[in-house]
Symmetry: C2
Subunit: 233 residues, 2 copies
DNA sequence: ACCTGAACACCGTTCAAGT
DNA sequence: ACCTGAACACCGTTCAAGT
């Protein structure tokens, strides 16, 4: 080492703001960091800029606007999804595995679902997930038009599910809070006027079952898979 | 007329703010008015207050917060939904009719879907729609647990669909803008590297078909109905 | 009890000015 | 070309003070 280790040649810097130039990637990194440990609400242009030691205006040289940043977050998450190799003999189970994988990643980044909802996924990585879903559907002989609409329906369902969960998470509910809420809800349903709400009263236990969300989700992907299978020759 | 027509007995008022007392209903009326002619983004506590000739703080005596106002808007819309009388012989078609009716109303109040997404519908009118959906499913002999989860899945799908549409509407796209966008999208899909995106390229026409949304929605409700039917004995 | 003005702690985005 | 400070036009919510 010919160079002094305790003092670089370039002039001293204000310690904090590492003077690496701003890039799209650094902005997305910072935004993802905020999202993971403070939730989607914390992902504002101002807070992202602050995390990078600069002002909000600086971001606009690299990102068109907040919406584009949202798109980039979704694409970053899509990157982590891993789908099975299409196998015609197992396509229905594989479709379910793919949907579970999508939900797994959306749960790992709570808040990404909020950025993704109602968004046409045109990022490169998001489009690769579409391609892979199409491959599984084609392996199952689902007709082209049905497959095309299915790759719209599937992310819509999975994202909406993750979004619902993230709303609860944002309220910082613990497992116990949810349990209490579900129990209260059941009592409330049972207490309704049974001449006006006969089925809500009678089905109160079923309506409040599957609180964790996993069973509900399994039901949903079962419905979608069975519905698609009914269209395959 | 014993009273001077040009000067009421009570002291002159600034013409605009009719001094009817604030009520929940008046607040929801004003919010709904804003939502209908300026979109969901215009529904802020401040703008609603302004429309009522008062300040934002005044609303908090009648409405807990913005979230509760959102719930009230959803319930107001739910009130307009009309469902068919359950008929065991026609339950599948009736279920589709019910979903079309839900979408019809959500489209009539563009923006309500944004307030409804990820929200457990606990308003009285919203719960009546749940009750009526349950009735149709029970007419079809769908098992209790499946029916219970279905009344979660169905509004989730319909609301997510309406939400997607409302995002486009909020961007103030005309019919022609959408046509152009879809055409560009198709060209884009076709131009992709077909070794990485073989199916996206091959299915480009199918992926961009059904731009109006009606065909896509019919596909979705067909999938859901068929999936549920597969669970009925 | 209901209403209000003013304040607090935030947003996204733009723009002229700097380097 | 990239970055910045300051400003613009907004948010939801709270609170002490009024009637």
């Amino acid at each position: 080492m010919s160079q002094s280790p305790w003092q670089p040649i370039s002039p001293a810097k204000p310690a904090r703001p590492s003077r690496e130039p701003l890039t799209r990637d650094r902005i997305v990194d910072a935004a993802m960091g905020l999202l993971v440990d403070q939730g989607y609400e914390a992902v504002s242009m101002r807070k992202v800029a602050q995390a990078l030691g600069t002002g909000p205006a600086s971001l606009y040289a690299h990102v068109a606007n907040k919406q584009e940043l949202d798109h980039l977050l979704v694409d970053r998450a899509a990157q982590e999804m891993r789908f099975p190799e299409p196998d015609p003999a197992r396509w229905q189970e594989q479709l379910k595995e793919a949907m579970r994988e999508m939900l797994r990643v959306l749960r790992a980044y709570p808040g990404v679902a909020r950025a993704a909802i109602g968004q046409v996924p045109l990022g490169e990585r998001a489009m690769l997930t579409t391609e892979q879903l199409l491959a599984i559907l084609k392996a199952g002989n689902v007709p082209d038009q049905a497959a095309a609409w299915a790759v719209d329906l599937i992310p819509l369902y999975v994202t909406a599910t993750a979004f619902e969960e993230s709303v609860q998470r944002a309220a910082e509910w613990t497992e116990a809070d949810i349990k209490t809420f579900v129990a209260d809800l059941r009592t409330y349903f049972e207490s309704l006027d049974s001449s006006r709400f006969p089925l809500t009263v009678a089905l109160a236990p079923a309506l409040t079952a599957g609180g964790s969300g996993d069973e509900r989700f399994e039901f949903g992907i079962q419905i979608i898979t069975a519905g698609l299978a009914s269209l395959a020759p």
